[in-house]
Amino acid sequence: MSSDSSSSSPLSDGFADPNSDPKLVDEQFDLLTLNEPAELERNRRGNGNEIADETLNRERNNIVAEDDVQLRVEDQEIFGEEEPPSPRSSGYAGGRGSSSATSPSRIGEASEIDDNEIQELRNDGSLGRISDYHASSWVPGKRHVDEDDASISWRKRKKHFFILSNSGKPIYSRYGDEHKLAGFSATLQAIISFVENSGDRVKLVKAGKHQVVFLVKGPIYLVCISCTEEPFESLKGQLELIYGQLILILTKSINRCFEKNPKFDMTPLLGGTDVVFSSLIHLFSWNPATFLHAYTCLPLAYATRQAASAILQDVADSGVLFAILMCKHKVISLVGAQKDSLHPDDMLLLSNFVLSSESFRTSESFSPICLPRYNPMAFLYAYVHFLDVDTYLMLLTTSSDAFYHLKECRIRIEVVLLKSNVLSEVKRSMMDGGMHVEDLPADPLPQSGSSPHLGKQTLTSDSPERPREPFIGIGGPAGLWHFIYRSIFLDQYVSSEFSPPLNSPRQQKRLFRAYQRLYASMHAKGIGPHKTQFRRDANYVLLCWVTQDFEFYAAFDPLADKALAIKTCNRVCQWVKDVENEIFLQGASPFSW
C-alpha cells in the first residue's frame, strides 16, 4: 500500500494526497476536528501511530478522493446510502460504476461481453491470507452433491467456484457433482477461449446482479460466479487463493500433465480434497486474513511466546526450514531457518489444509506439501502433529528422509512447551479471547508508565474505567463495535472479538463483507492509495485509516458521533501499541517478498 509521496516526517502518518479535491476537502472540515488536549498529550508518546492533531490537520487535505461511486466521504450523513440491508439490486448492476479495477463499464447480460469488460489480466499474483478465529458450527465438506446446472437450487446459490482445465474438463465445483457439470464447464471454457482467440483475456462479466470473475493460470481456469456484491478485487483474490490451495496439494508441475495430454483429467489427483477447498471457501466469509494479507497471533504473555519461540528456533537451527506452532487459525510462534520467510498466504493455505484434513488429528503425519509463494514447483515435507485438540506443530523440511529427525524435534518441543506451561497458557488464551472493545482503556494516560496487560483488561468485563462518553451504545465507547488493526511491518493483524450487538453469524459476516469492501476501496488501483475514509450507512459507521505503519479498520454504531469515533480510533491504536508484545509475534523476520 502506499506510502508514496506522502511521508513528510516521521510523525506524519498520513498526508497530503496530491489528488485530493479541494472542494471535498472543505466539506470535511467540520467532520474531522478533534484536537482535544488529550490528543495532544497522547501524541507525545504516540510513536507516530496516532492520529495526532497535526496529522489530522493534514488529513483534512487528503481525506477525499475515494472511488467516485462508492467511497466518498460523506459530509451529509445519509442513512442507507451505501448498503440497504436487503439484497441490493443496484450494487453491481448495469449502469453503475464498479469498484473493481476493471473499468467503468456496464453490462447487462452475460452474453454481451462489452469491450470494457475484457481486459488484460493483471498478473499481480495477489493472494489472500491467513487468520483467525472462528465459527465453530460450520461443518466441513461438500454440499449439495446431487445438484447440477439444471437444478433450480444450484442456480440460486449465491456464490459458485469452479476449477476447470483449458480443455473444459471440470476439476472442482463448490456445489454439485463435477462430472455432471461437464457441459457447464465447457461453456465457461468456450467463453474464455473465445476472448483469448482475439488476443485478449476476460476478467469480469457482469450480468444483472451477478459477477463472473475469471482467472487463467496456464492450463487451469478458475471461475467465480457471485451475487454477493463483493468487489471484483476480492473475488479475484479468492480465486488466487483457491489456485494456491491447488498448488499446495499438487505443485505447479501439474502443468506438465496438461502439456503431455491436453485432455488430462485432474479430478482423480484431487481425490479427497473437496473438504480442503470447501473449508477455504468458508474462510472467505469470516477470516480477514483472506483479504488482509497478514496473519494473526493468539494473544499470549510476552514471556510465554518467547519460550515457545526459543525452542522452535532451537530446532530450526538443526535443519528445519520452518517451525510453526499454531492454535486453530492463530499463530503461537513461528521460526524460519536462515532468512527464509514464510508468506502469510502460504500460512493461510497450509493451516487450512491441516485443519480441514481430519487425518492429521489422528496421529503424527509426514506429508508432501508445496508452499506456492515459497516455491510453487517443489514439494516440501511437512511433519504435522496435534499437541492437543486445537494446538498443532508443523515442521517443514526439504528432506524426504527427515521424518525421524522431525519426530525427535517434536518430542523436544513438546517437553519444553509442557514444562514452561505454554500449552496451558494457550488454552487459557483461547478461553479468554483477545481484545474486546468494551475493555478499551478510557484514558491511556495513567497507564503509560506501567506496562498494560491485555489479560487484565479483557478479564474485567465491567471495568470501572469504562469511559463516560456522551454517546454510549452497546459495544465499546463512542459506539465502537469492532476493529481490525494490521501492522504493515509485521504482516500481522489483530481483530477484536465480536461483542454485542454483533452477535449473530449473519451480522458478523455482513461486517466482514463491509471490511472487505473498505479494504478493496482503500487499495483500489488507479484511484488510490488512500489514507482515511469515513463512511456512514444504515448499518455502521466505518472508519479506515492507513499509515505507513498500520492499517486500521473500525466499525461503529451507525449513530456514532464522527469526532468521537475518530478520537476513539486514536485510543484503540494506542491500546494496540500498549499491548503489542502480547498480541503480535515480535522479532519474526519481516516478510520481504
Binding site: G271, S365, F366, S367
Partner: protein, 201 residues
Amino acid sequence: MGCSSSLPDRSSGRLTGLNTGENSEGPDAKNLRVKLVLLGDSGVGKSCIVLRFVRGQFDPTSKVTVGASFLSQTIALQDSTTVKFEIWDTAGQERYAALAPLYYRGAGVAVIVYDITSPDSFAKAQYWVKELQKHGSPGIVMALVGNKADLQEKREVQVQDGIDYAEKNGMFFIETSAKTADNINQLFEEIAKRLPRPSSS
C-alpha cells in the same frame, strides 16, 4: 504357536522405549522392531485397520489420510519376544502414488489392503504387489488383506481369488474387518511370526 495373548500397548503412538535409536533395527532377538507400510486403494480401510490395531478404535466416518500417518504398536508373542511395529499408514489417493517409495523404502513388512466389495481395489492391490516386488526391500514380508469382511452380502472378490493370488506371490493372506475387529490382531501376530529373526543373539 498361538499368539492370541498379545496385549496391545495402550501407550501407542508414542515411543514405547523398547529399544533405542529411532532408525536402527532392534539389536536383540527378543525385542524386534520393524517398519511396516500399509498400501492400497483409497477407502479400503487402511487407517481403520491401523487404528483398530493400535488404539482398539473404529470410527466409521471416513477420514481421508493425507500423505502418511505414523503410528507404532508393540505386541508380545508367546515365545516372550516382543515386536514393535512402526507403522506407516499411507494415503491411497493417486497423487501420493509417486511418493510411496518414500514410505516403503526400508520397510520390513508391507500390508497390502483391498476391499472385498471392490474388484477395482483388488486390482490396485495387485499393482502394489508388483511394485513392491520390483522396488521393495529384498526379503520384505508381504501380507494381502481383504478388508470389510463384515460386508459379506456385498462381497465381490471371492476368498479363493485372494488366497490364490497371495499363494502365487508368496504372501500371507487374511480377511479382516476393522469394524468388528475380526482378525485384526491375528493379522499382526501372523506377520510378527514370519519376521526373520536375527540369526544369533
